[in-house]
Amino acid sequence: MKRTIASLALAASLLASASAVAQDKPYEGVTLRVLGTQQPWETELQKRADQFTEATGAKVVFDLYSLTQGIQKVTVELSSRSPAYDLVFVEASDVVRFGGGGLLEPLDDAIAADPDVDLADFLPATIDANRIDGKLYALPHFAATQMLYWRPDLFQAAGIDGPPKTFSEMMDDCAKLQTPEMKCTAMRGKPSTSENIWYWTQFLLGFGGSFVKDYPDDLTPTLDSPEAVEAAKFYAKLLTDYGIPGSVSASYDEVVIAMQQGDIAMAIEGAPLAGRILDPKLSKVSGKLGFAVPPGGPAGTFAPFTSQAYAVNAASKNKQAAEAFLIWATSKKTMQDIAANSSFVAVTRNSVWNDPAFIKAHGYDFGHGSFTDAYRDTLATADPHYRLPIAEFRPAADRVGAALQEIVTGQRSAEDALAAANSDVERIFRRARLLR
């Protein structure tokens, strides 16, 4: 038995070297290991990885985890400089802590060598979010944002013309839309960077506030500013007066379910979740929705934004093959194929957004705003630094998330809770030597 295996292995390696000589498959014998998250994009990519193997000879193995666990594992792998994985999952906010520290391989040379990449085709914010000091560290496949889902039938019945364009219109509309049987809206209330902060930051920025005085020159936190207090009060009022019961601890799941069940008249929620909200098997409101860019404040509209991407581990031993795979995975052809043939819609390439097959598959339009148009217009307003690209953003934002919950539950006034959070954020930044 042992001998058979040995001779098989020998034969395999002979074959491998023979074809390497032939040069038609440049990465024959290479096995690429991908560390990522279990999400629709990865599932679809996995199904198509054979195409890459066929073209280049490199095998691709995926290790996929839940989002939080995946990010944590990437963090440990990269910071220990382990070569175990060639490609790793990164969110835009993580690129800064890994790319800046030299843990990710800059992709500029590989991209320059391949004219098919066409960086100009990507949504600008998704590329900017992955660039540090002029170097690109990841190729994005996923553009996350939130748009406004609204119920034209209910708006009409309440005598409202169209979706709210500003926060104050949203509040006024809610007063008209809400009935004893039906709440106006639902939103994320669970305290965390990825839950209530992801939602609330658009109010903070829209009212003219910000996390810090002047990114990147002055990182003094300004979460106790009058604008921030106003944004927090607005959020708290919207949540307590017009939100579904249990909003204080709601995550995006509760929001999606409330929308699906027809329990609310409108919601600002993740565009990638449209697939679930519109599924006729799960949703009572399929076919009854309008789509729009979310409302803004006096300072403008700031729809939430982050990108998800893969990057090449700087410690990888197969960098060239890894780069080739990444370029292939985010190519027009692959992205078009995945977007047109799966529920994945959060694509990052303009050419896919304009692709007739994609629009046919996902261009939901029930006469009150087309989904793909609203999504594209929302992304066009995206601020690549919606989440501050500093390594300390997560602990700081988690802290502010807890303060928001204190405000919503009435434990503390907005002024007190934010002042306390601000001094904690200042301490976090000071500890990391971001402040003098």
Partner: protein, 294 residues
């Protein structure tokens, strides 16, 4: 203990001592050292000496101060409840009522289930609308549809209940073995003298058990924070830190935020606090054990 005796037996103790030192003292020392430097694992820059900066920083960290309060709540409330229920259980089991023999095995179950599984069991139990708790309250005609893990007070209460559930069997078994060493004649003569059931336990069982109770309490306190997996599965420290004890905050700081030095300083501070609190009891226990051995 005299030094001459120590010298005589020293060679025999040495291997154990070395092993213990490697797995306890060395990591502690390393942790302490780490806490004195500013370490950024992603940048690859060399560590920068910062002395006790982290410790000073901790004192103004409201999340840390909150985690201290949560730690105290998660230690003392469950341990008190464990002792109460454990004692009651032990006394019941001693009475040898019908069925108590197989009950002993059942009572032991929570103690042998891995903590992560216990967390999962409780999580499933309190699922709003669909869990066992909703079903039980339905039997009583109450429509319980609230998410206990979503509000600070109820989330903490759930963790306390789960922790009590896990720890009680151990306490009960130790106390039971203690009760069983008390001669039957003591109870019999007390009963003959006209003592009630309550009085026999109040004046015989509990005083006899006092040293055992003390030992059990110290061990439960030291072990109370081993409910980390339960918290991890059940609440993840939330909502808003309501169930986040020091060790959980240190874990999040170290592995989520990658502030390894800061996490190390929390652990060191916490270790010192625990030792300061428990060492008098530990010394006392060691003394009485030594006295017993002679």
């Amino acid at each position: 203990m005299h030094s001459s005796r120590l010298r005589g037996y020293g060679l025999y103790i040495l291997p154990t001592f070395l092993v213990l030192a490697t797995i306890t003292i060395v990591p502690l020392f390393v942790t302490f050292t780490v806490s004195l430097f500013l370490i950024d694992v992603t940048s690859g820059l060399p560590p920068v000496w910062q002395g006790f900066y982290n410790y000073v920083s901790l004192l103004s960290d409201s999340r840390f101060l909150n985690s201290l309060v949560v730690t105290a709540e998660l230690i003392f409330i469950p341990v008190a409840l464990q002792l109460l229920f454990g004692l009651a259980l032990a006394i019941c089991l001693r009475e040898r009522l019908a069925g108590t023999r197989w009950m002993r095995i059942l009572f032991l179950l929570p103690a042998v289930i891995p903590p992560a599984v216990s967390g999962l069991v409780w999580k499933l139990f309190v699922i709003p609308g669909a869990g066992g708790l909703a079903w039980l309250s339905g039997l009583l005609g109450i429509d319980l549809d609230i998410d206990l893990l979503s509000m600070p007070a109820t989330a903490l209460a759930t963790v306390v209940v789960a922790s009590t559930w896990v720890g009680t069997p151990f306490v009960a078994l130790i106390l039971l073995s203690g009760i069983e060493t008390i001669g039957k004649d003591q109870y019999e003569s007390a009963t003959l003298d006209g003592a009630t059931w309550w009085q026999t336990h109040r004046y015989i069982s509990i005083p006899t058990l006092a040293p055992i109770i003390r030992t059990v309490v110290v061990f439960r306190i030291l072990e109370a924070l081993a409910i980390f997996p339960i918290i991890f599965v059940l609440t993840g420290g939330g909502p808003a830190g309501a169930t986040e004890p020091v060790n959980f905050y240190a874990y999040v700081t170290g592995f989520d935020y990658l502030q390894i030095d800061y996490a190390a300083s929390m652990i060191v501070l916490f270790f010192l606090a625990m030792m300061a609190f428990c060492s008098p009891f530990l010394v006392q226990i060691a003394r009485s054990a030594e006295g017993g051995a002679r």
